[in-house]
Amino acid sequence: MKQTRLFTTPFRDRLFTALGLLLLLGGWQLLSFLTHDILVASPAQTVASLWDMLSTAYFREHSLVTLKRIFIGILFGGMGGFVLGVTAGLNRDIRNLLNPLRWIMLSISPVVVVVLAMLWFGMGSTMVIFIASVLIMPIVYVNTVKGIEMVDTTLVEMAQLYRFSLFMRIRDLYTPAIIGPLSAAMVLVICMGVRVVLLAELMGANDGIGYAVGTTRTDLDTPRLFAWILVSLAMVSVLEFCLLRPVEKHFRKWQS
């Protein structure tokens, strides 16, 4: 008999997750109680500030700009990393050719990328999207290559025997096979995408959540700063649960 996800998740797991959340909230409350308001806003102050902000055009404009940049950055970085990863995974020569570039892209400091992007593209969306894409691409690339290397060789042989086209191999064999390791990487990528976009906006944009966070510092409006933090966390959740999970669920329905 089929059961819903809610009932198949063990109660104990949910209990401890809720407990972890409560501990975090408790710790936050305690910290705000022990320190000055200007250093740490309390949960109540943060929620009140968020509530005030939610109905403003200022909130909508900055949030939407950031969301758009994160989405495009992840899309470009993710697709680029995936396509290059599949190509390199299937062809040893291309993998070796891309090895030095992969090493540089993974090792280079994000701050260097931000400075270079500001130099090349100036302030604004192009720069922010470029930074996000460049920092995301090598993570997706490495995980795709590793995933392809781990595909069951007996299945590859079967596909070869029945003369699967390259397109069929990628669609029906490699993509479903690597979706496990790749989805774990994508969670990292989403979190990193949000962090990088906010950092880039803070350093070189006139709009977006990162820019708005920068203004809270100059205004010494700590509750609003914490409210923006909550918004950025919500964005990670929205991207993870509305974008990543459905794709993952589609590809892993055979495991349920």
Binding site: T154, Y162, R163, A177
Partner: protein
């Protein structure tokens, strides 16, 4: 007439280890040949050479076939595809339209008693059923040559007999040249026209259909052709 399969002085080496040594034999069209030999002696390598999955180190392998079906030791089904999709995919690869491929695969799966499991994933099927799907996949492409690599070795006797009967039944409907690898002579003897034994020296000898070959793999009767006919 050109044989369906012809090995001409075929040598296969993996590193310094020679698995097949100057192998020369033919299999005629629609002939069912049983290939015996100890485990790890190179029977699978021989099948892979016929299938084009391996290349000979020396010599030539000539195969006259448009389509080859292969039933591996393990089912090798894509775990994320349903029974129907697993059987449909080779047909799609062969260029059939989706509805045509689905219709053909459904018909074959029904003939093999798998109608109820079309939408099941391999993880929801027993080992015997998975191997039955693998057999259906091999037949669905309409193979000129069917390669069977100890296809029922991991199954219990009852399931083995059932699938063997299904194989014979299917071959009566869809005749093909068959190369049936096994280390159990009694298994292939039931359907083979001819038995060959692969020896430890990497050569082939013809074995009797009546008697069980000697355990050391030495010939009871030799006479394997040493070259391909034109």
């Amino acid at each position: 007439m050109t044989p369906a399969v012809c090995f001409d002085a075929v040598v296969k080496r993996y590193g310094s280890r020679e698995v097949l040594s100057g192998l020369a034999f033919e299999i005629q069209h629609r002939e069912i040949v049983g290939l015996l030999g100890r485990s790890g002696i190179g029977k699978t390598t021989l099948l892979k050479l016929v299938a084009g999955l391996e290349k000979p180190t020396r010599g030539k392998v000539r195969v006259q076939a448009r389509r080859i079906g292969y039933v591996f030791q393990e089912p090798r089904l894509l775990p994320w595809k349903t029974t129907l999709e697993n059987v449909t995919l080779p047909l799609r690869a062969a260029g059939l339209r989706l509805n045509e491929a689905v219709e053909r695969a459904t018909r074959l799966l029904a003939a093999m008693g798998l109608s109820e499991f079309l939408q099941s994933y391999p993880s929801q099927l027993s080992g015997g059923m998975c191997q039955r799907v693998s057999l259906a996949r091999a037949f669905t492409v309409g193979p000129d040559i069917l390669l069977l690599d100890e296809p029922f070795s991991s199954l219990d006797i009852e399931m083995k007999n059932e699938l063997q009967a299904m194989l014979v039944e299917r071959l009566a409907v869809q005749p093909a040249t068959v190369l049936y690898v096994s280390h159990a002579p009694e298994e292939v003897r039931q359907i083979a026209d001819r038995l060959l034994t692969l020896t430890a020296a990497g050569t082939l000898v013809e074995a009797s259909l009546q008697n069980t070959p000697r355990p050391d793999g030495k010939p009871e009767r030799s006479g394997v052709r040493a070259s391909c006919s034109a």
